[in-house]
């Protein structure tokens, strides 16, 4: 199943978004069977930020993430089989079935961990940047967060330290306007721009369309270069939108918590559809290519599900392991 990835960077971006979308949709389809028994937050609609960011990072650049981490993990190169095995609670899972969907790790690709408590990886990411600095390495620590996380005090403490020590930290904020069902309008003042607040803390900031994968990739590339050249930590805010419910496999716009016109407008700006349109006249891109990718990816996903499903459970007698090193 080792399919040839496109050499063309633009095509790669689109293929990777499609892959993540198809993985998340497959999880959503299979979840109701009750085999993946853990709280699961899907990234459908938000793939461009993950993919564009990862494209601008090296494998050796460490990354940390949140409860909604599948896309970040996969885009960074995290192993798909081990992701699904983790959701199935199997020993072959990326965290040996101990952590589930909200606790992903793949050290082979620098994915240092995602955690379930909002904001809890922010200082960890800054600590990775501190480690990089102390060891005089060239890497950049990438810290994924949501709009909700910047409401936690630990965000300010972490960002401040990153600035005061001028650490190689890159904050990637996926602003999807919601923390669970609570809109930004109830949580932050009208007219507030998150990146403006963060700029006042001393980080270099910018805001971009998070559904334009090419724009994301370009912005992150510039930021990473600036950090590698010794610049201040950077905070990039990307506006985007989640297509499915906050936690779980279903759409939930029947609940009416998001304005219908917002939902429609954002879905019309689906990152994958937009990218495909942008590439219409791009050499090497065609409807057939997409179809070929789809069938390659579907086969990969089928194989990964079969792997996860048939993989053995962790041995219950090992339940108390790993508490201490």
């Amino acid at each position: 199943m080792n399919t040839q990835l496109p050499n063309d960077p633009s095509l790669r971006l689109v293929r990777e978004m499609l892959r993540i979308r198809m993985v998340e949709e497959a999880i959503a389809r299979e979840y109701p069977k009750g085999e993946m028994r853990c709280p699961t937050h899907l990234s459908v609609g938000q793939e461009a930020v993950a993919v564009g960011t990862a494209a601008a990072l090296e494998r050796t650049d460490p990354a940390v993430s949140t409860h909604r981490a599948h896309a970040h993990y996969l885009a960074k190169g995290g192993d798909l089989k081990r992701l699904l095995a983790e959701l199935f609670g199997k020993e072959a899972g990326c965290a040996r079935g101990r952590g589930g969907s909200m606790h992903l790790i793949d050290l082979d690709v620098g994915f240092e961990g995602s955690t379930a408590i909002v904001g809890s990886t922010l200082p960890v990411g800054v600590g990775l940047a501190l480690g990089i600095r102390v060891r005089a390495e060239a890497a950049v620590a990438c810290i994924f967060l949501g709009d909700g996380a910047m409401e936690e005090g630990v965000f300010y403490e972490s960002a401040n330290f990153a600035v005061v020590r001028k650490l190689p930290a890159l904050f990637i904020c996926e602003n999807n306007s919601y923390s669970v069902y609570s809109p930004l309008t109830k949580r932050q003042p009208h007219g507030r721009q998150i990146h403006d607040v963060v700029r006042a803390l001393g980080l270099t900031t910018a805001a971009h369309d998070g559904n334009d994968v090419f724009g994301v990739a370009a912005a992150v590339k510039t930021a990473v270069q600036a950090i590698r050249d010794g610049g201040s930590p950077v905070f990039l805010e990307f506006s985007t939108y989640r297509h499915l419910e906050h936690c779980g496999p279903y759409p939930d716009d029947n609940l009416g918590y998001r304005p219908e016109k917002d939902v429609a407008a954002w879905k019309a700006r689906d990152p994958i559809v937009q990218a495909q349109e942008r590439l219409r006249d791009h050499p090497g891109f065609s409807g057939e290519v997409i179809e070929r990718w789809r069938s390659e990816i579907a086969a990969e996903i089928d194989g990964a599900f079969a792997f996860a499903r048939t993989a053995p459970w962790p041995d219950p007698s090992t339940r108390a392991e790993y508490v201490y090193a």
């Binding site: 009750g34 853990c38 709280p39 630990v154």
Partner: protein, 354 residues
Amino acid sequence: MRDVPTTQMKVIEAIRNGLDVAMDLDPHLICYGLGIDDPKRIFGSTVGLAEKFGNGRVFDVPTSEAAMTGIAVGAALRGVRSVTVHQRLDFFFLAMDQLINNVAKWHFMFGGQRSVPIVIRLILGRGWGQGPTHSQSVHSWFAHIPGLKVVMPTNAADAKGLLLSAIFDPNPVLFLEHRWLHEAVSDVPSGDYRVPLGQARIVSEGGDVTIVAMSFLVPEAIRAAGLLARHGVGCNIIDLRTIRPLDWDTVSAGILKTGRLLALDSGLPICSVASEIVAFASERHFQSLKSAPRRLTMPDHPEPTSFGLTRGLHPSAESIADTVCEMLGLPHRFAPDPNAGPHDVPGAWFKGPF
């Protein structure tokens, strides 16, 4: 109870009803928490409150547990009581400084001039892969802190009655709700019904062993008593209801009654509430004990996520009954009910994911 009309309610409805009654009684009482007026209404516990009492008194908040806890302190100083809520206790860990250094100590460290009458609702997760950071029950930490009161209701009437007492108590109260008990139904008195804090409830009055339990382990103990009754063993079950202040009189009487103590705890074993109860029994009632007091708690490691690792993780009716038989020197051992559903859900009503 006098002639108070009662209604059958789920725990979650009883909490809603208690909040409603309290907000009518105290026109300054506020309720806030992330998602309090969202479509899910904190598992249904705040349905209709925002509509009835308005956004000035029932409001959504930023994802800011630490600040929102300290803000409750300040509001209380200004004469505004509050009930805040966190959909998992684990999220509330961000507020530990406010809880331990301010909430618990304000009254003490300023020489008793100001009190902090606030209630913090914390929902305890279990099952469906809640895993290491969505399933923790650290009632023993909270019970460790002088100045806090800690309540863990197990049925609908107590949920309402304890909540109302908590709200009108002059002290801060942590109100720990178990997600698996939310749908438990019982008769709930209407109106301003209060259950005093610090009073345990005797659930059954058997004569062979005293089982002290809290939260979700109370129904497990009741099931265990059913298993044991078939073998002629009678259980004296005490539902603590309040962890701090703990009703030592009732615990004492229970120990003296049967001479055998099994302390259950839905938390970790070391420095647990069960440890404290066993220590109490050993110090106070050593001469009256017919066998060594026992504890049954969660194992001493974090909760894993995998379905394959959580079977048998929690104390269950069977493990409770087994332990009682060991204490009594009886040979019986109890296998899990083969017809029970998956071990990681409380019943068909729970569809996941949290």
